[in-house]
Subunit: 486 residues, 2 copies
Amino acid sequence: MASPLPASDAPLYKRVEQRILGMIQTGSIPPGRKIPSLRETASAMGVSLTTVVQAYESLERIGVLESRPRSGFVVRQPAAALPPAGAPTMDAPVARTVRRGEIVRRVLETLGRDEVLPLGVAQVDPALLPARTLSRLLAEVSRREPDRVAHYAPVAGSMELRRQVARRLALAGVLAAPEELLTTCGATEGMSIALRALTHPGDAVLIASPTYHFFLQMLELMGLRAVEVPSHPHTGISPADVAEALDRFDIAACVLTPTWNNPDGSCMPPAAKAELVQLLSSRNIPLVEDDVYGDLVFPSSQPGNAPRPPACKAFDDHGVVTLVSSFSKTLTPGYRVGYLLPGKAVATKALEFKGMSTLSGAAPTELAVAEYLERGLYDRHLVRVTRELEQQTEAMRLAVSRHFPEGTRATTPRGGCILWVELPPGGPTGVDVFLRAAAEGIGISPGLLFSNSGGFERFLRLSTGLRFTPQVEQAVARLGAIARGM
Amino acid sequence: MASPLPASDAPLYKRVEQRILGMIQTGSIPPGRKIPSLRETASAMGVSLTTVVQAYESLERIGVLESRPRSGFVVRQPAAALPPAGAPTMDAPVARTVRRGEIVRRVLETLGRDEVLPLGVAQVDPALLPARTLSRLLAEVSRREPDRVAHYAPVAGSMELRRQVARRLALAGVLAAPEELLTTCGATEGMSIALRALTHPGDAVLIASPTYHFFLQMLELMGLRAVEVPSHPHTGISPADVAEALDRFDIAACVLTPTWNNPDGSCMPPAAKAELVQLLSSRNIPLVEDDVYGDLVFPSSQPGNAPRPPACKAFDDHGVVTLVSSFSKTLTPGYRVGYLLPGKAVATKALEFKGMSTLSGAAPTELAVAEYLERGLYDRHLVRVTRELEQQTEAMRLAVSRHFPEGTRATTPRGGCILWVELPPGGPTGVDVFLRAAAEGIGISPGLLFSNSGGFERFLRLSTGLRFTPQVEQAVARLGAIARGM
């Protein structure tokens, strides 16, 4: 499906890129064939030759085109088509105490270390985030209200921010009063508060398989057991599988990322979300919904003016869902601004648990993010960043198809910033690749991080949040060579 | 003991104030007697009459002097001398599961609400904190390194900040490498990390009686039991009492504020700190040392060039002490910048627990505080703020002695920003006063917050962090009237 034309504030060359990508994606120019010449495109779009050159070179850099002597630019032939990833085949679920090992510690330790090419961290390239604008707003609010930002914010969070979050949530179908919301130090604190409010050590928690490895670490640190339900890389977990697990186990809470699940990039269809919430309501089982990627919807996957996919919380008539999210993936992780909309079982305890966890958030950064939202900058930013993420994801898929061994499979995400890659059987495992790559300064996340039941050994998760530079392409080529056992 | 002359950057009238206060405190001018005339002081100090008037009026406002027609200014007679508070008399200690009620929730809810005169919150008046300078530094670091502050800080915290903290800790006798330190979201997160690393639900934790009410809330939320050891308002807990409790109970950890304990303002003598650490080392029992007030030493209580009192951590040759502190009491609570120096039992887990709690601190505020310290501004600020705190505490004691019922007793703190007041038997309790005062917009902390064994009903804690304005004096007068049952 062709990407819509980018908004008119995009650089000209980006519009040229989009046009060519559209022609390739719709099949009008198959692999190996010449694309329109520089002059043809310049004249057809009414732009300068320089602009077209810039666009073609950019497409060459991300691996879509290659330049051939005397033929000009042709559409690059993928080394092999990349089959879509399938759903994991799982035995009947069990409830297992979570115990993780050394490898998790190693991955955690590389976080924030800038000497590594961080393809193992699911985050958007700092170059795509509005760091300068945020810094300016931070300076502005701090100078305007120095006493206020130096003082404690309310335990529940700055009201300005809660108001803005409430407005954003409406786009996910969630109607919440600002007073119901709690700000948190990233989604991490929200998740920690929700789990502490809902569970006791020894309880069983239902999660997707694969799931975000931090959830597993949290379950381990809290002495909880995990019941895993398979996630399909397109549609996520199925309500029928959840129902089966609920029949067999005494589940204290579910922890899911229904929109762009980490690591498989799946998004539950709205009907499945509604069914899931109804099922949980009928049994009064709380769901902690992680929505940190919810705003990162690829432009081509949301036709027309449709907003982002609805959150599970949108279908929550009975208060079983606690929604947890943040601006760490979309705006800035360093400001530590997240939020929590509690379900009924969390509502009475959330404030107290936040008081015990951090007392309150950093007032200056909460107010700077609120200001960014209030000025309407966030929507414009999302248009830009999701367009880039879609292109980077496509470039990453292409590079994987080109460099990884035959038989490699990968997801086709429609949002988020990660690619979930399955290596063919018989070769190096995800951990093999992780260890070799780490030694060469390339970070990835091996598949076994994402499950407590020993699956996904042949998987690895790549971040597509980074700009697809030649350095990233080289890193993917190197990963492919390692995966081929070289 | 007379306060030393304030540093030369103090306003002139402050120096006059200090001179007069010194004469009163040393007894050279007893209550009821005239102080030197305006002209005498102006001439003796070589300052203008206006300056002396300013000083005398300031001393009148805080209740030290009163002006009498034709006699000029005389030293005000306290309504009744305020006897020092004694140590609590306690039955043999027991280990009690911590269960707190509605009153704690109410106090917590008033935190951060600016409609209340916050005498119930142990914090320094925002007017005494360098909010503008911090805002300027926040703007500077954010503009200088926008990408860096927008990105995750390392899980362990920004290295600049850890370096500066390591330098400060040396003044408390603690030698630590920056790499050993972890930054935290206030001391709250540090305390939460330490307790989660050291305890399991059902464990017994040794605390002082009275102790900071947040510790009790934390113990409750974590399902822990409390063993209380009496704290003397001058010297804190005694190692002998701790030894007795260790003999009788299986103690998983101790949580103490050895320097300016909240709420009784006690400071354990260095020898007692050393003895306590030795005792705990010999039994391998970890101590979590809360040091948030450690830098707030009243000038008159630290003779000459002596630095602040040593921390327990200074005597910790065997790694049993985990030190937790922050800049929330001394610089800015709103920036949420704290730190943790782990003992050996916490060291291996601290990073993982921080990862699960908040992942990392807010990068902009961590770097702004680091910059403040690096420029040497913190030391100068401490000179100023501790001088003010000492005067405010003295003014508060005076006001309590004047307005509260006969038989009221109070502590004589030598640091920190709180006064611990014991009402005479037979009248209203601390909770009675709290409820009436809250209804009139005055916040205080009733004594029963500070113990899990039902003691301290006749106590209340007043913040001396606020500037002693006429509004505060009126509030104290009103509290006194309430305490007298009016």
